[in-house]
């Protein structure tokens, strides 16, 4: 059980990657990229977690109380917001692809040589 969160992160990464490779629709592919990215959240939070520690907020607990790693949480926080805009950008690309070629299937796109 001790290594389960790390295994979950690896599994999310691989399952997302499989989705990207086997995808037949660009929108599905973009969501799979999101799944791959969520594995980084799991890994970062798992590394920052400490058994028995509180959140790194020292409003009603004194300084020196064992707290989880604030550095990885800060990394993750910006990551979440940035991911949404990057997904929006990728979806905009997908819309343009559909406008130009009338398909969202990556395999058919290759046939068009576009």
């Amino acid at each position: 059980m001790n290594y389960l969160p790390y295994a979950v992160a690896a599994w999310l990464f691989l399952v997302g990657l499989y989705g990207v490779i086997s995808s037949r629709n660009l929108v599905h592919l973009i969501i799979c990229v999101g799944v791959i990215q969520s594995s980084s959240y799991v890994l970062l939070l798992a590394i920052g977690y400490r058994t028995g520690a509180t959140a790194p907020i020292f409003v009603d607990v004194p300084v020196g109380t064992p707290a989880v790693d604030a550095v990885v949480q800060a990394l993750m926080l910006t990551d979440v917001v940035v991911e949404v805009t990057v997904v929006a950008l990728l979806l905009a690309l997908a819309i343009q692809v559909h406008k130009r070629h009338g398909t969202l299937n990556p395999d058919e796109l290759r046939k068009l040589k576009g």
Binding site: Y3, V59, V86
Partner: protein
Amino acid sequence: MTRRIRQKFFLFSAAALALCFVWGYRDLPPFGQVTSIYADKVNAITVPQRHITDAVTAVNFDIRGFDTLGEEFILFTSVMGVVLLMRRTKDEPAGDHEDKVQGRNVPPVSDAVRVTTLLLIAPTILFGWYIVAHGQVTPGGGFQGGVILSSAALLLYLCGTYPKFRGAAAPRLIEIAEAVGAAGYIIVGGACVALGGMFLENLLPLGKTGTLTSGGTVPFINLAVGLEVSAGFVLILLVYLEELMEEKES
């Protein structure tokens, strides 16, 4: 490469990648027992040295402030990319802002939804700014508050029609707000240089711990980020709604 070969190739590489994961994890301490010298240092110095009670905000906007500037600009360029990609080209005539997609019989929004969303808009905006302003005290800050603020725009769309929403949202103003938010971060950093310090060095009075004015430059950076994130998300929302409304009958 056919689908079959590609999948076989994936299985082979995935197995190799999984082995790399195992190899990389081997020396990691078990879950919950990872120790990091940075974590201990950050948790120890944020209150005495920065007067910030939320260590995550202290890392994001003070200790690691320059990195967050970069991340904020990833967001900025992504939003610009979306706007650029979705702009109307010459062969796409301007729509009349009506929902024309066929086979998508959207039922009219019920009065209950309209009234509820209308009532929710003001509290959402207030809550958004509350989260932005209290970033240095409790969990929150520009990124989280900005997203909440942008959801107020979505509520505005739900309680009215699209043309009215577009009129109220004033895209030009939103674009300016986004630019001001992005520039604000740099201006705060530059002001520190002007005051004789380093870029983004926290030189302002740190204030009383646990109050709105604590943290020196952090509240100002949070305001700038909050403005940028909310404006960026509203811009994405506007661009996508515009696309939906202008989709031609096929």
